[in-house]
Symmetry: C2
Subunit: 229 residues, 2 copies
DNA sequence: AGACTCGCTTGATTTTTATCAAGCGCCGAT
DNA sequence: ATCGGCGCTTGATAAAAATCAAGCGAGTCT
């Protein structure tokens, strides 16, 4: 593994305070692997062998049941995913697959649990990470149950614009099919919702969205830190 | 506070391994309070002052936004709730109110965080608790997004029957309005779904449900440990 | 260049769920 | 026992979202 990637991981809040020997112990047995797009990394129902960390690319967390499928989250660098199953040594509740080509660091689950029980600083960092993720899922649940699909889209546009520097034009990082799934709607309804939102301050092109009237969009979206973070 | 309640709390996985002086420190400043039904204990958006523990009665976690409201979970004794906000010292994302009369133990949030940073055993117990809760919310999200309202009800019946000893008859712990909210449907649809399920092995009375054909109900419900735990 | 592919859009229809509006029945109070 | 009240049920309607079915259009391949 290259030093640059190790540094990236070392700088994650999760590993920043871990004692040097413990960090070396974890990474000595780590695997750094490059995957093509659309490869399944984790199958729900399986027991965790590794703690996964996205170093490059993006990963979709999803779940399937009885023929239906739903996207739960999209993970971008540099982030761990599905920590809870690793810590509790219980089956994964979600599956994971690459969306793009991706570079994934995998730390042996057993060693993560070992360091967790020896290294108090790591244990505290795990708590913070888990608490953060917990809050993320609660937000997702509220977003789903308290908003219509058009409102979810409107808030996604506002949030993406923030992340892209409030420039007033949002570019799609993935195809619309994936975006629709992420927002909990069909591609058809994403299309309809985009044209609906043209009545609320946006203009949507094929590759980007332009925010022409932020306050109108905001009035429709009703963003709140209690859902949108 | 009475010794019997202290013992109950002490026996929670969260507090079982905490060093004696730390446990005493936490509980010395604790408040044990009895609340009438339908009292709001926590307002989403507020900063946490206490870690709450339900000792008796039941508490509903819910969230509201833009005139809509949704039940997120029902908490029964003996359990802590909304630990993540306390640990991170960030605003609550959910509100809480008593459903029945309830006895609530409240530990000062500041002291919880203090013991958390001093007591490694407590930190590890917090991780386990948070990981468990995290998985609970993921299950709730999957239940919501991968199932119809009738399927949620069918699985609720099966699960309640398990918890009541597989006797084949489930009694309602709360009124149907509350149950409907918990299952993410209107009271009208709960009623319709109950009559729908009479085609799938149940007989529903006003105070209880009888499972007449468990395998038929199960075939309709498609229960799975990846959602139902 | 022309035709093809594939992703996106648009329209029509169905399913699911919520909302509105009566009606029914159990239970307590008088 | 009878009268009200209230929670539950039932029916009719409406809204939201999924599904089915074409059509369009920006790229690519030959």
């Amino acid at each position: 593994m290259r030093a640059s990637e190790l540094t990236l991981v070392r700088n994650l809040p999760l590993f920043h305070e871990v004692a040097d020997p413990h960090f070396e112990y974890l990474t000595a047995a780590a695997l750094l692997q490059r995957f093509p797009p659309h490869v399944v990394l984790i199958d729900e129902g399986a027991l965790p062998d590794f703690l996964h960390i996205v170093v490059e690319g993006s990963v979709e967390l999803f779940a399937a049941h009885d023929g239906r499928e739903t996207t739960i989250d999209i993970i971008r660098p540099v982030t761990t995913f599905i920590l809870a199953a690793v810590i509790r040594d219980e089956v994964y509740l979600k599956s994971a697959r690459t969306l793009t080509e991706a570079l994934i660091l995998m730390l042996p689950a057993e060693k993560v649990r070992e360091v967790f029980s020896k290294d108090a600083a790591f244990a505290r960092a795990v708590v913070n990470e888990l608490a953060l993720r917990y809050r993320g899922v609660v937000r997702a649940l509220k977003n789903e149950k308290l908003r219509s699909s058009a409102e979810r889209l409107a808030n996604w546009i506002l949030k993406s614009d923030e992340q892209q520097g409030r420039a007033g034009h949002v570019t799609f990082a993935c195809d619309k099919r994936t975006l629709a799934s992420q927002l909990g709607m069909t591609p058809e309804n994403l299309s309809r919702n985009l044209s609906l939102l043209s009545k609320h301050g946006i203009k949507s092109g094929s590759r980007e969205i332009v925010i022409e009237n932020r306050s109108a969009l905001s009035a429709f979206a009703q963003p709140t830190s209690l859902i949108d973070g």
